[in-house]
């Protein structure tokens, strides 16, 4: 399954403020089994881009297609993991994961068997009956991941899923996501504002800049392949090539930040 975004623009209109051009002429392809990462500071239009792919909003111009069929709304072929925690607190961990299968009409034994399998896959065996609000942030995102995988989508859209986690949990989760990507062979579109995370995860990284949100640079990478092969995340992240690219992108983002908004640079320097 291939998802293609062509010349997509989104303008938010509102009654009492001027229209916001949140996404300007973005084009992007998520190939089969690709891992595409969108990198940029807050307000670059990353979430807007993801929402357009998920079908949560309609484009002002351009198109989103899945295997040449235009996207007109959300659907279980595109799983979403949200920036905000969107687990249902009235359901147990197991029922949250099984939720999509319940909607599809699967009977209880079948959907629970599948949900247990997925919980094991994300390392949450034994938490089936737990309440979601008793879990840590990292565990909750694991549940969200399992829930998104339950309907067996070919593509996963993830909006800063690790943004709220502490850095240690975050690294563990990055490795979990790499493992999942390698073992399930899903296509992934992943949003982050961490340069290191983008380089570590992506087979392709698109760098975005704000006002208006647009893609300013694309990189094709193989660090994630090296991680899968070597199973040594620390070595990949300390590779001189990795570090050099990290600095290059940092400079790039700072420059464009300075061009479009001087306060951005000051805020970052401070």
């Amino acid at each position: 399954m291939t998802l293609i975004v062509s010349n997509a623009s989104v303008t938010y209109e509102s009654k009492d403020s001027p229209p916001v051009l949140a996404l300007a002429d973005a084009s992007l392809t998520i190939p089969r089994q690709g891992f595409v990462v969108a990198l940029g500071a807050s307000g670059c239009g990353k979430t807007t881009l993801l929402n357009a792919m998920a079908g949560f909003l309609s484009l002002t111009a351009g198109s989103v297609t899945v295997d040449d069929v235009p996207v007109t709304g959300p659907g279980p072929d595109r799983g979403v993991v949200f920036q905000k925690d969107t687990l249902y607190p009235w359901l147990s961990v197991l029922d949250n994961v099984a939720f999509g299968l319940k909607l599809a009409g699967l009977d209880r034994p079948k959907r629970e068997a599948k949900a247990r399998e997925l919980l094991a896959l994300v390392g949450l065996e034994g938490f089936e009956k737990s309440a979601t609000y008793q879990l840590s942030g990292g565990m909750r995102q694991r549940v969200s991941l399992a829930r998104a995988l339950a309907t067996n989508p070919e593509i996963l859209l993830m909006d800063e899923p690790l943004g709220a986690l502490d850095s240690l949990t975050r690294e563990t989760m990055q490795e979990l996501i790499v493992d999942l990507w390698a073992s399930t062979r899903k296509s992934i579109f992943f949003i982050t504002h961490s340069i290191e995370e983008a380089l570590f995860l992506g087979t392709e990284v698109v760098v975005m800049s704000p006002r208006p949100g647009r893609i300013i640079r694309r990189y094709t990478l193989d660090f994630v392949h090296r991680t899968v092969a070597s199973r040594d995340a620390a070595r990949v992240k300390s590779d001189p090539e990795f570090i050099a690219l990290r600095e290059e992108i940092r400079n790039l983002i700072h420059q464009t930040g300075a061009e479009s908004d001087g306060r951005h640079l000051l805020a970052r320097a401070g």
Binding site: A54, F56, D85, L103
Partner: protein, 281 residues
Amino acid sequence: MVDISLLALAEGATPSAWSPRGLRAAVARRGIPITLISALGLLLAWTLATQFKLVAPLFLPSPFDVATQFYTVAVDGFSNATLAQHVGTSLFRILTAFVIATAIGVPLGLAMGLNRWVNGLFSAPIQLYWPVPPLAYLPLVIIWFGIGETAKIILLSLAMFAPIVISAQAGVRSVSQARVQAAQSLGATKAQIFRHVVLPNALPEILTGLRLGIGSGWATLVAAELVAATKGLGFMTLSAAQFLVTDVVFVGILTIAALATIFLTTLRLLERRLTPWKGQD
């Protein structure tokens, strides 16, 4: 239970246990609710005030008089009915009104939360009448529905209705867009989103609305039984007041307070039971 905790307090009653710090420690250690202490303090003040004749019994009968009168009203009755009959009549009115207010209020509130036309149609009249005390529109209810049982139940229903509707509406509105989107991306239809996301999401607010509704129903009981009642706790209290039988007035007030507390506590327990996630996420 009360006796046990009192005993426990008395057992540990070394002089220091009665110092403020000792008492606070005892409260923490024995788990004595602060509300119990405040209730006992009030009872003590009441007893002392009547014991030393600080207030005339006509204005403030002693706790002992009230207890005796409670027994008399329970056994012999007051105003042609026993206490149990008064309670039964009032309970019937309140529960009937509660069922009516819930059966109409919850679905209407849900519809208002879902649809802005329904909301536009109903929210203005509800917002307008809600703050008006039921006693103020009682004459209108009597003109429209007479002085029989119907008018009483309608007055109580109206008092309960507004908080129930508004809470159900707010419950629907409180659902986050992301939770809905999560369901959509898992393939949920509109009906499934309502059933599996909007409704459970609104449940804590709906239950809070029911509790507020019941509270406001009990607060309206005396007004509802003001005109042409022959039974009921509110009626009993009012007629006792007319004959200046102050201790029966106290019996009425305390019985209403006790019943209202039982209702509110039950609903609060139900909330905790059904929506344990409330305030946790």
